[in-house]
Amino acid sequence: MSAVRTIATARRVLTQLRHDPRTIALLLVVPCVLMTLLKYMFDGEPAVFDHTGAPLLGIFPLIVMFLITSVATLRERTSGTLERLLTMPLAKLDLLLGYALAFGLLALVQALVVFGLTLGPLGLTVAGPTWLLFLVALANGLLGTALGLFVSAFAATEFQAVQFLPAFILPQFLLCGLFASRDSMAPVLRWISDVLPLSYAVEAMNRLTAESGVSSLIVRDLFILAGCAVLALALGAATLRRRSA
C-alpha cells in the first residue's frame, strides 16, 4: 500500500468527475430541491419537517455515493482499466481507499451545501452540534461508497448496477425507522432492521435532532456505520481479482 498511489487514485476519480459538471450539479442541487420540497410540504407543521428532514440529511449521502460508486467501479471493470491497474504495482487497498477518499470528500462538499441550505434558510432545528452532523454525513457517504464498490462486482451492466439501488437500499429505507418506528414493526422485521446499517444512520440523525451534546449512543451509531463501511470495503477487496477465468 502506498499513500502516493492512493492519493493519485483519488485525484484521478475527482478529475473524472470534474469533466462531468452536470453530475456534480445534480449531486448538489437534487438534495437541496428535495429538502425545499419537504419544508413546504409540511408548511403548517414545522416539527414534522424537523424530524423527517434530519434523517433524510443522513440518507442522501449514502444513496448518492452508492449510486455514483457502483456505476464508476462498474465502468472501471468493463472498460478494462481495472484489469490494467491490477497488472500494475497498485495494491487493491490503494484503489479502494482512493475511491473512498474521493467520494468521502464529495460527500462532505454535498453535506456543506445541503446543510447550509437546510439549517439556514429552511430553518431546520437540530439540537446537537453541527460538526457531528457532518461526521454522520461523512460516515454515511463512506458507507454508500463502500457498499457501491462491493455490489458493483455483481453487476455486469449499468442497467443491473442501477437496479441494485432499489434491491439493496430501498428495503433498508423502509426498515430504517423513517416511515414507522422500528419498535412497532413485526419482531422479525425489527431484528432485520437491527442489522441494517441505514437504521443506525437514521438513529444517529434522530438523536442529533433531539439531544444536545455528544451522547455515547451517537458515538456507538457512528462506530457501527464506520464498521459496516470497513466490512463492505473488505468484501469489495475480495471481489478484486488479479487473475480471472
Binding site: 502516493v4 484489469e83 491490477l86
Partner: protein, 240 residues
Amino acid sequence: MNSAVSVTDLHVERGGLVVLPSVTLRIEAGSVTGLLGPSGCGKTTLLRCLVGVQRIASGEVSVLGLPAGSAPLRSKVGYVTQAPSVYQDLSVEENLRYFAAVLGAPRGDVARVIELVGLTGRERDLVARLSGGQRARVSLAAALLGTPELLILDEPTVGLDPVLRRDLWDLFHRLADTGVTFVVSSHVMDEASRCDQLLLMREGRIIAADSPQALLAETGAADIESAFLTLVSAEQRTQA
C-alpha cells in the same frame, strides 16, 4: 539463448472449453516476436497467461525468470489489451499522469511517451473525443511508461493508418534494440515480415515457431499466409 518468456505444457480452460491444450514456447530477450493466427485461436488467452491475469489449469509460465504475474513483475511487464483500456472521461495527459503515478515513473515520462506514440499536440483532448486509432495509442503509451522489460501487445496496430503502423513497428524495434522484449499479436499475416520471430497459432496450438525467413525457406512459400496454409495442410496429412 537468453529467454524472456518460457512456457511449458500450458493448459487453459475457459468455461469448460479447452482453449490451450498444451502450449510450450520460448521467447528470446530483446526480440520482437509476432504471435499470428486467426481470430479466436487463443492468442489473447495466451497473452493473458504471460501477463499473469489468466487462471491456468496446469503448466508453467515463467517471465523474466519469475512466475508470470508475480509482484516484482508488475512494474516490468506492460500489457496493452485489444480494446484500449484507458479512461474515456480523462484527457490523454491526465490518463498518463495517473498511470505514471501508479507505476512510480518520473513526471517527465508522460511527455516522452506521448511523443513516442505521436500524440504530441493532443495532450489536453479527452480520450472519448479521439479516434479509435488514437485511443489505441494512448493505451500503448501507458504501457511504455517507466522502464518495462517486456511489452505484451494484443493487436496494437489494428485499424491504423499504414504510415503510423510502420512508425510503431520501427518504435518496437528501436526499443527492442535497447533490450526490451516485445510480444505482439496480430491476425493480419502481412505484419509477419516486421517480426524477428514468429509464433504461428491455430486452434490453441503453436504450429510453428521460427524466424519469418526460416519459415518461408522451410515451406517454400512466397509469403507467410501461404506458409501458414502449407503448415496446416501438412499437419492435417500427418493426422489423417
